[in-house]
């Protein structure tokens, strides 16, 4: 395995991984704060719906004049892509916790914080995990697009292979991305089953 290939895998994982971590850091607290507030929640879910229909390539193109070429616009596009499943699943997970369970928690004398950390979030977590898994797979697959604006990663092989009509190079890129996505899906699927009640 050439050093070049390993560098490309590394760049791809770094890009997708940063996008996912950033989307988690933004999406989970945001959805958590909005879950019980009708207006912010409505706005947030509308935003998630909006993000979902914008093509990643369009965001890349729009980000170009602002953020230039390379890693940063690619990261932005991928965060936008990863946010909807994280926002929606966090919201669904938190709101699916039965009222009776929360009422019982309040009745036992838990503080609001304890209800959150001991009851509500642990019960929401398996559903949140499904969103993280969806987001991870989408981000790994779409990180390929970064190559169009010099963001690097395995997309370089696909773009390069297309431009020079080099089929083996193109296939190498495509298969590697697919393998990476499947690997992440399997790993997160395992984690998700461990979390299930």
């Amino acid at each position: 395995m050439s050093a070049d290939f390993i560098a490309h895998v590394g760049a791809h994982v770094a890009l997708a991984g940063s996008a996912l971590v950033l989307a988690l850091a933004i999406g989970i607290p945001l959805a958590g704060m909005a879950a019980d507030r009708p207006l912010p929640r409505g706005l947030l879910l509308a935003l998630a719906g909006g993000f979902r229909v914008i093509p990643s390539l369009a965001i890349l193109t729009l980000a170009l004049p602002l953020l230039g070429l390379g890693f940063r616009p690619a990261l932005l596009a991928l965060v936008v892509l990863a946010l909807p499943p994280i926002l929606v699943n966090t919201d669904v997970g938190l709101r699916a916790v039965p009222r009776a369970t929360l009422e019982a928690a309040r009745g036992t004398g838990m503080t609001e914080r304890q209800i959150g950390t001991r009851v509500r979030w642990p019960l929401a977590l398996p559903v949140v995990a499904v969103g993280v898994r969806t987001a991870a797979v989408e981000v790994i697959a779409s990180a390929t697009l970064a190559a169009f604006i010099g963001g690097g990663g395995l997309g370089d092989y696909i773009v390069g292979g297309l431009q020079t009509a080099n089929l083996p190079e193109l296939v190498l890129g495509a298969v590697s991305v697919a393998a990476l996505a499947l690997l992440a899906d399997a790993a997160l699927g395992y984690a998700q089953r461990r979390l299930a009640v």
């Binding site: 039965p98 019982a104 309040r106 009745g107 004398g109 009640v197």
Partner: protein
Amino acid sequence: MGVRYANASVPAVHDVDLAIEAGQFAVLLGPSGCGKSTLLRTINRLVEPTSGTLLIDGGDVRERDATELRRGIGYVIQAVGLFPHYTVAQNVGVVPKLLGWEQVRIDARVDELLRLIRLDPARYRDRKPRELSGGEAQRVGVARALAAQPRVLLMDEPFAAVDAIVRASLQDEIARVHRELGTTIVFVTHDVDEALRLADRIVVMNAGHVVQTGPPAEILEHPADDFVRDLVGVDAETRRLALERPLIER
């Protein structure tokens, strides 16, 4: 005392002047929507009175921290509300843990309580709520409420969701627990027979206020008005006869 919810045109509870004695088994009885659950929930401050005061042992509950107050009051609801991600033992041990008991003391207390509600600790301690029947789950709910030796136990239609046979056995259990522990119990139900069976004192409610209070026999023999007469119904005579037999034999 009264409670008016925001946006409500009529108060949910009004002009309630009620004293429940320590050690009593008091049953709040009335049709759905009469305010009995709201009244119950003012005791542990899940609902705040909008007028008047509520005293426990002479102290205004509003002067106490709500979470600290609730840790000293057992609370059992119809939907049980066991924590699905906790084992039976963890559920029962929730309040002792909040109170900072040492784990060995919690474990001992959990086993003691499981035996009290007649579930074998060895078999049930590590089960998850989904592995329990409805009746077993409600027994665990009762054990959880009793865990930190509360002086008051609040029960909101606790046995309404289980079938008649299980309900009868749960009623026997709670009557026995009350006799053994002497805990003050405030119990909400719309089931007249359940009220007559369990109560030392029945508090009949309608449309947000107390219509009559008294021991079961008195409610049956001297209903205060037509509402109470209709509630205890045409079977009042048979129900009165049933009262004459001690609970343990029924």
